[in-house]
Symmetry: C2
């Protein structure tokens, strides 16, 4: 993964060096967390990619549930429990599911409790599955008490049980904090469980059993994913500021936030990476969107993350970005250019329209649009960074995910907020719970 910013991020070397000073201690802390290993610190998620016991457990569970007939992995989880898995699955396969109906296994995600969606999903499963070996249900809730996940598990497993009997429990895996209500109930019923280290929060859990199990079961190269993450951890913990992508990105975002750029647009030039953007939306939204700083002062701080898809969104919000309020820092995300094989058909239907398209490949056209966009941003002095993935693979996704998680830790440190909690969502949960209890008959 390459990270570019020098000519476009509108930050001076002296600012970089000054802000870097603020991170010296925290960087040393992260190095200590990595050296110590294990899961005793809030930042311990950085140790997941080197945890061999975790890998062994996940691969064993995956092996145990694997079947040649496997068609559907049903991931029931919301927020940190499914966004990482969905990011990786959609990037590599899921976005193209519609065009590849005969490729299996597929992952189906159930997050919210939308009645229409859940009804159609269960109807589909019951019609298209002939035997329990064709599915695995993976219910994931860190706390073990997430309303949506418990409810969806009851509905979906209930429907499958009606069709296949209690044997469906053998096709279930529950992922939760060891000892949580869900975990305990699953153990009591003899359902396979996987645990999550206490200090690894949902949005930092993609490299834990939360993400690894369904991805391994799908047949993805989870070793390469971890390898990419490890390589990136090394860069982000040991490189000096000039070549450290996580520190650079955090400092650039922080510096522009201080100048009123309250939005970070992740402008991704590959449509299949939209879910990766949505994963980051949670990571940034929850980690630094905070009412209070770590001293308890009311600060209402944060950067509002966005996901845009190139070139689609140039025809949607491009006008806003180029002409509207200058309140955004942009992160362009794309892959290294590769030799393309998809050339414009020689015999064109409309040869007179845009003659410059003759003999071009789709890739060339996309590059021209991307380059044109970058030039427009430069001319308008809109600050941006560039994240260039070598390709879209397990390894490079591992790099990206780890890069962003460490970036967020640095950014939390710069903003002096706890990047690992989410206290303000409790309010709506309490109200929801009260309403559900009042309605109990």
């Amino acid at each position: 993964m390459e990270f570019l910013y020098r000519s476009s991020a509108n930050i001076s070397d002296s600012d970089l060096i000054e802000l870097n000073e603020l991170l010296v201690d925290y960087k040393a802390h992260l190095v200590r967390v990595a050296n110590r290993g294990g899961y005793e610190d809030k930042e311990s998620s950085i140790n997941l990619p080197v945890d061999e016991v975790l890998l062994r457990d996940v691969l064993a569970a995956s092996e145990a549930k694997s079947e040649r007939a496997l068609k559907y992995i049903i991931v029931i989880g919301i927020g940190g429990s499914n966004l990482g898995t969905k990011a990786i699955y959609d990037s590599l396969y899921g976005f193209f599911d519609q065009f590849e109906p005969d490729r299996f296994p597929k992952v189906l995600f159930a997050d919210t409790n939308d009645p229409k969606t859940i009804t159609k999903l269960t109807d589909f499963l019951i019609t298209h599955i002939q035997d329990p070996s064709e599915f695995v249900v993976n219910s994931i809730s860190k706390s073990g008490g997430t309303t949506e996940t418990i409810a969806n598990t009851e509905f979906i497993v209930g429907a499958l049980r009606e069709r296949f009997g209690d044997t469906v429990y053998e096709r279930m895996v529950v992922t939760s904090d060891a000892g949580s209500p869900l975990w305990t109930s699953a153990v009591e019923r003899g359902i396979t469980t996987l645990s999550i280290p206490k200090n690894v929060g949902g949005r930092f859990s993609v490299f834990s059993s939360v993400g690894l199990f369904p991805l391994a079961l799908l047949g993805l190269d989870v070793r390469a994913l971890r390898e990419g993450a490890r390589a990136m951890r090394k860069r982000c913990l040991s490189e000096p500021i000039q070549t450290n992508p996580a520190m650079l990105s955090a400092i650039i975002l922080f510096s522009h936030l201080k100048k009123g750029k309250t939005i970070n647009d992740n402008f991704i030039f590959h449509p299949e990476l939209e879910s990766l953007g949505k994963w980051y939306r949670q990571l940034m939204g929850e980690s630094i969107g905070k009412e209070k700083d770590w001293d308890g002062n009311i600060v209402h701080t944060g950067i509002t993350p966005r996901v845009s898809i190139g070139s689609t969104d140039l025809h949607s919000v491009g006008q806003l970005y180029l002409g509207g309020p200058q309140d955004k820092t942009t992160t362009f995300i794309y892959t290294k250019r590769v030799a393309s094989t998809t050339l414009m058909p020689r015999r064109r239907l409309f040869p007179d329209l845009i003659e410059s398209l003759h003999d071009k490949s789709l890739d060339q056209i996309m590059r021209a649009i991307l380059e044109g966009t970058k030039i427009a941003y430069l001319k308008n002095k809109l600050p941006f960074m560039e994240v260039i993935l070598p390709d879209i693979s397990e390894y490079s996704l591992g790099e990206f995910l780890q890069f962003k998680m460490i970036e967020m830790m640095y950014l939390g440190s710069l903003l002096r907020v706890n990047a690992f909690d989410q206290p303000n969502v409790e309010l709506y949960k309490i109200e929801t719970k009260r309403i559900l209890e009042e309605e109990m008959s």
Copy 2:
């Protein structure tokens, strides 16, 4: 459609009445545009739902291309050329395509020139279509010169032609401004064309042939769509401020923008409406995201639109919304509550977990989450409006789309910007064109 704001939008009656004054003349102008009919004004899109000639032409074209065997309507267009169609299709059907593989016809959308997507799409079509009667290609570009749409048309039609010969042209419809390069080329080749009134811009074109043709071909009730739009046009042009949803929403957004709320979050509690949110994202982004006001002053104004899905995004950006910067005005969008049939299974798998879920329906759970969220917003004094659709149907989508387009006209007037142009995107287009031409061999 109901519109609620009184107890939650943090706007006083006196502010409403004062800001209403600013809209008196513009409202009278819109009434004149509607009374005059036709397409002579920038606002003429409001006359599309009463245009009987348009309806006749679209239904005739749809009738001519309709086949019992029709399986795939391939919509090639980007931005205003596909977002409205996609909003309606996904809301009613598309979001569930994955779970309903045997329901036809389906709409497939090709917008950007992503090589992987377009290759997989064409491979899919060539493998899954046996006869030209099974598809219609609808290429849509208002200007007739949109790079992505011309390129995708060449690739997709080229691939289909290789399989089925020149007969594929009979299965094509081109939608464009009459006389545009694309329109002229299509006419020359005997390809069916549909035109768009000059003064109807892409983001206001959903009720023109742009949206109506593919939706009619799909078998949707386009008459009900237009009926909903007409009822809403009447409300938004004739009702006084107190009951006029478009004026109220525009004034509330404007008033909070002046107080620093630069983001409008559309928090939709139905996942299948995400594309409807993305349609609005363009409408708001392009219409009021402006460098200059109508006197030519540099203003860099606008509101940055967002789409959030409930309850999914409560587990993602909920923390940011409730605790982070107070820079957002929220529009909750949901449907009226209906009697539910999806009750929690009597025999629960985990009866001890969240006992309040016993005997609840999914709908009840979703309502409790929505109500809990609204209470949390109220307690945090976060301003919001509520848009309550009677259901998700052609009629109510027609209402919503027309409501938002007229809201945007009022908002443009309050901000003193031209809501109908998009001058700043030209810059990247010019650069892209230059790059493509330089690369010509």
